[in-house]
């Protein structure tokens, strides 16, 4: 039996008739066609499916879609401007080599967004600690940490902090 679930996705109201057992990840990817969010393990270990629910970074592979009802969900597709201009953190990942194969990247970028919202001036250790739930096999994390560090500076600059 399907149920109707509604939430805000990247600033727009969405409604979907879904099987209630589905995960938020399934609905984002399969029902709503937003495939930017990836499934790397399906058991909350790798973080490739990280999205923000009401600003908090969560593993959408472990998040029942019904729990998303009435919330505001943000995925990697919601970061860039309408004209395609990348957000400061995306730009920083590009400039600092934070993406290689790119499969973990949407999740790591979203984890970075959540971190910088909470802590606009993180130390490298805080960046590393905040990413322990996001696995990357390509980069060795060095350029990812550099990207988030640079994004913190750019974001503070943009706000005039």
């Amino acid at each position: 039996m399907k149920v109707e679930v509604g939430f805000r996705l990247n600033g727009y109201e969405v409604r979907a008739e879904v099987e209630p057992h589905l995960r938020l990840l399934d609905v984002l990817r399969d029902t709503l066609g937003e495939t930017g969010t990836k499934e790397g393990c399906g058991e909350g270990e790798c973080g490739a499916c990280t999205v923000l629910v009401d600003g908090a970074a969560i593993n959408s592979c472990l998040f029942p879609v019904c729990e998303a009802a009435g919330t505001s969900v943000m995925t990697v597709e919601g970061l860039a401007e309408a004209n395609g201009a990348l957000s400061p953190i995306q730009r920083a990942f590009l400039d600092h080599g934070g993406a290689q194969c790119g499969f973990c990247t949407p999740g790591i970028v979203m984890a970075g967004v959540a971190l910088l919202a909470e802590n606009p001036n993180p130390s490298d250790a805080e960046i590393r600690y905040s990413l322990t739930g996001n696995l990357c096999r390509c980069t060795g994390y060095v350029q990812i940490v550099a990207a988030i560090r640079a994004a913190a500076v750019a974001t503070r600059g943009e706000r005039g902090d």
């Binding site: 990817r29 937003e34 495939t35 930017g36 969010t37 990836k38 499934e39 790397g40 393990c41 399906g42 058991e43 270990e45 790798c46 490739a48 995925t75 990697v76 597709e77 970061l79 860039a80 990348l86 995306q90 990942f93 590009l94 400039d95 600092h96 080599g97 934070g98 993406a99 290689q100 194969c101 790119g102 499969f103 973990c104 990247t105 949407p106 970028v109 250790a125 960046i127 590393r128 600690y129 990413l131 322990t132 996001n134 696995l135 990357c136 096999r137 390509c138 980069t139 060795g140 994390y141 060095v142 350029q143 990812i144 940490v145």
Partner: protein
């Protein structure tokens, strides 16, 4: 080389924006109209006869469109020894053997149907160690070879050995000898994007496979052979590669799931997708090959190496894939890392009922370097010589031809050793007064840097197509899987043609449009693509400059009309410039001998349109050039272990400082340094990314990664129990330095870099641990348990 405009720049990767924006399409993200989902029934025994397969309950499940077993479809053999079947018949030889498969309208129904397939087995004794498999009277894992001839042992017929100089004389000349057994485990490539494919036939009977592969053209050949097995002849197979979510060697062979997807598509007439989940990726895909090594090296009283002897035994698992050929690559370091005169190498590959193994970054080299560089330090200690000094004393030199016949045209190993020592402050930190539990170590590497000839061609084709707007569309057969091939290639094409890198458009590989390439492995992609691009780029320039003799004057006149008369017009005769007088830089056609006044520059797109849409009386032309680069290398004779298999060789040294907790055995890395001779750096961001990434994989290999199994069943098939390094584990600085030798065969002087990072990390760490606390760990991974046990044993001595 001072005239390069783009090589060596620190620029973003061309596929980066789509990746940070979530727009890149991986196999996970692709669907086709009417597509079915495939799922596989895997064996529940490591070694058993299949008595009966009952698929009736699965067939009846609503939503199921096909259930197939090995008895329902023609036999599809694969693997380079053709000892593997897409769907097994009669017998299973490993836990992951594919017995049956389902196609259904959604993935959940497909998996449910698989669970409804009942298989009755007659279990057979399993062979899980090389010793058991080689024991007298051991059961045969394959009773016959692929042609049906009986076999007499579990040895894999993949001879690989080497003998050079006079081993006995080398031993006699030795004042000091060190020997030991060293082992390396199976590890998982652990790409974040799991494996998968979509197979579909069109109504002409041609097959398209969208595949996560590193070998689109060898896969095309393999799938064409599979079609022949189905009785489908003279049809086309097209392999299309989507964005690849990491591969690290896992895509170097074709897989049973790909053939099963083809069989299901053929059976149903629908596109069929098979996508592995993380459990399947760990449990049913081939990991890195394990190895047992016996190594003995000797030196004279001064520390000069006198001989090296290496005996390798590999637990191949149940079928032959590229794991069986790791020894071919081990030969490079075995014969040629450091100058060593008398060398013996032999490898024995053994079938067992464990999971069969495949390629992973470095492909035998990290395995053999683990043994050589650990053993070398044991030898140095016996000889009372500093390990750095011993390496410098025996250092490879440019121009050396090694015992394997490798021609080291460029070699910066000495500079790598010196740079590492300086970064570690070796003289003051090594083996001398320091804080207890702290130590430094290093290890060196040689790796193929100009391809690795293991197939009758190691070549690559490229097509450069100029459009009407000055863009260069590149078709290349290699695969971008994250390593930065497209980063390096966009810069090299820009340089070779004379355009800006952002005007170079590289599409992921499609066998329908790209020329042949042997595959993306052996750190070869940028080297091959770059050399092919240089040839094609030079041809494009030659043709453009020839036509410019006619087209250029008219375009300058248009400039003059638009701009008004230019300065210097009197001094320069733009109407009689000959082909040798032109240059093309950053998308502008120029005259070499003139100043760069705006009226003398013609934008490439405008020139191309003028050439394409010729004026009355002229003939239009377009500019597309192809080139095929075959490196000047030998396909080695593996039984003699001789041949110059690569067109260039990459060198490097990694140094590390560690702290060891003597109570818990925990090893903390304090800092690492990697000094690398990869020739000229092409894309700085990509080169650094390859080194950082390789080193961190090396840290996992050194300290914690291992695929555990019990009687052939994998015990840690997930990230919960199989730990790869996290960001918090890499809480130490990694310093990269480059020794930019300018290799004569390398494109713009570059050598391959994809694998170098992972090669010497583990022995460098082990050597630092020994320096710190005096225990020598010879079996990877170096877990705290092993360190504590070794420390306890040392106290007991």
């Amino acid at each position: 080389m001072t005239d390069l405009l783009h090589i060596g720049r620190d620029v973003p990767r061309p596929d980066g924006a789509d990746k940070v924006g979530g727009k890149a399409l991986y196999i996970h993200d692709i669907t086709r109209p009417g597509m079915l989902y495939g799922a596989i029934k895997f064996s529940e025994h490591a070694h058993a006869r299949i008595v009966r397969i009952d698929t009736s309950r699965a067939q009846r499940l609503p939503g199921v469109r096909a259930v197939i077993t090995g008895d329902d479809v023609p036999e599809v053999r694969f693997g380079f020894m053709r000892d593997n079947l897409a769907l097994k018949k009669g017998k299973v030889r490993q836990f992951r053997d594919e017995i049956a498969a389902v196609a259904a309208i959604d993935p959940d129904i497909a998996k449910e149907a698989v669970d409804l397939i009942d298989v009755e087995y007659e279990p057979l004794p399993g062979l899980f160690t090389t010793a058991d498999a080689l024991a007298d009277g051991a059961a045969l894992i394959h009773e016959t070879d692929p042609t049906g001839r009986p076999v007499t042992s579990n040895l894999v017929p993949a001879a690989c050995s080497h003998r050079s100089g006079d081993l006995e004389a080398g031993k006699r000349a030795s004042r000091f000898v060190a020997e030991g057994h060293y082992t390396v485990p199976r590890i998982q490539q652990a790409s974040l994007g799991t494996a998968g494919c979509i197979a579909e036939f069109d109504l002409n009977g041609n097959l398209t496979v969208t595949a996560k592969t590193q070998i689109p053209f060898l896969a095309q050949r393999d799938f064409t052979n599979a079609l022949r097995a189905l009785g489908i002849k003279d049809k086309n197979v097209r392999v299309v590669v989507p964005a690849v979510g990491g591969a690290f060697g896992s895509g170097l062979d074709t897989h049973a799931y790909e053939y099963i997807s083809i069989l299901l598509a053929w059976h149903t007439g629908k596109p069929v997708k098979i996508l592995y989940d993380r459990y399947e990726e760990f449990a049913y895909l081939s990991p890195r090959q394990s190895a047992e090594l016996f190594i003995r090296q000797g030196c004279d009283e001064n520390g000069k190496l006198t001989f090296r002897e290496i005996e390798v035994t590999q637990d191949n698992g149940a079928y032959v894939s590229w794991g069986a050929t790791y020894p071919n690559v081990m030969l490079v370091a075995a014969t040629s890392l450091h100058r060593v005169p008398n060398v013996y190498f032999n490898a024995t590959i053994v079938y067992t009922n464990n999971t069969y193994c495949q390629a992973m970054r470095g492909y035998g080299n990290p395995e053999v370097t683990w043994g050589i560089e650990t053993n070398l330090e044991e030898l140095a200690e016996k000889a009372g010589i500093d390990a750095l000094e011993m390496r410098l004393l025996n250092c490879n030199q440019p121009g050396d031809v090694t015992p394997m016949g490798l021609n080291l045209q460029s070699c910066g190993l000495r500079e790598c050793l010196e740079g590492t020592a300086e970064a570690l402050d070796w003289d003051r930190t090594r083996s001398v007064s320091r804080r207890p539990g702290r130590g430094v170590g290093m290890a060196a590497l040689i790796n193929v840097g100009g391809g690795g000839k293991i197939y009758r061609s190691d070549g690559s084709g490229i097509i450069l197509k100029l459009d009407d707007f000055g863009n260069v569309n590149v078709s290349y057969g290699g695969v971008e899987m994250g390593q930065g091939l497209h980063s390096a290639l966009s810069l090299m094409v820009a340089e070779a043609v004379g355009v800006l890198p952002e005007r170079v458009i590289i599409n992921q590989t499609d066998t329908a449009t790209a020329p042949w390439d042997v595959g993306t492995h052996a750190s070869r992609g940028a080297f091959m693509a770059g050399n092919a691009a240089r040839i094609a780029g030079a041809r494009l320039r030659e043709r453009i400059f020839a036509l410019a003799e006619q087209v250029y004057p008219g375009e300058v006149e248009r400039n003059l009309a638009a701009l008004g008369e230019g300065e210097g017009l009197d001094e320069f005769d733009f109407r009689s410039v000959t082909r040798d007088g032109f240059d093309l830089r950053n998308g502008w056609l120029l005259c070499k001998d003139a100043g760069d006044e705006p009226w003398l520059r013609v934008e490439l797109g405008r020139f191309l349109r003028a050439a394409h849409f010729a004026k009355e009386g002229g003939t239009g032309t377009m500019f597309t050039e192809e080139a095929f680069y075959e490196p000047p290398t030998d396909l080695p004779d593996w039984s003699a272990g001789y041949g110059n298999m690569s067109a260039a060789y990459t060198f490097g040294v990694q140094g590390v400082e560690v702290e060891v907790d003597e109570d818990t055995g925990e090893v903390t890395i304090l800092r690492m340094v990697a000094v690398t001779d990869g020739g000229r750096v092409l894309s700085r961001q990509a080169a650094e990314g390859q080194l950082y990434g390789g080193i961190v994989q090396g840290v996992g290999y050194a300290l914690y990664e291992e695929v555990h199994s019990s009687e052939g069943r994998i015990l840690n098939p997930g990230f919960t129990d199989y730990k790869i390094p996290t960001a918090a584990d890499i809480a130490f600085p990694i310093e990269l330095q480059w020794v930019e030798t300018n290799d004569p065969e390398g494109p713009f002087g570059a050598k391959g870099l994809g694998e170098a990072g992972i090669v010497p990390t583990a022995p460098a760490i082990a050597n630092a641990i020994y320096d710190a606390v005096g225990v020598r760990i010879r079996d990877l991974p170096i877990t705290p348990e092993k360190v504590v046990q070794a420390l306890a044993a040392k106290v007991g001595e």
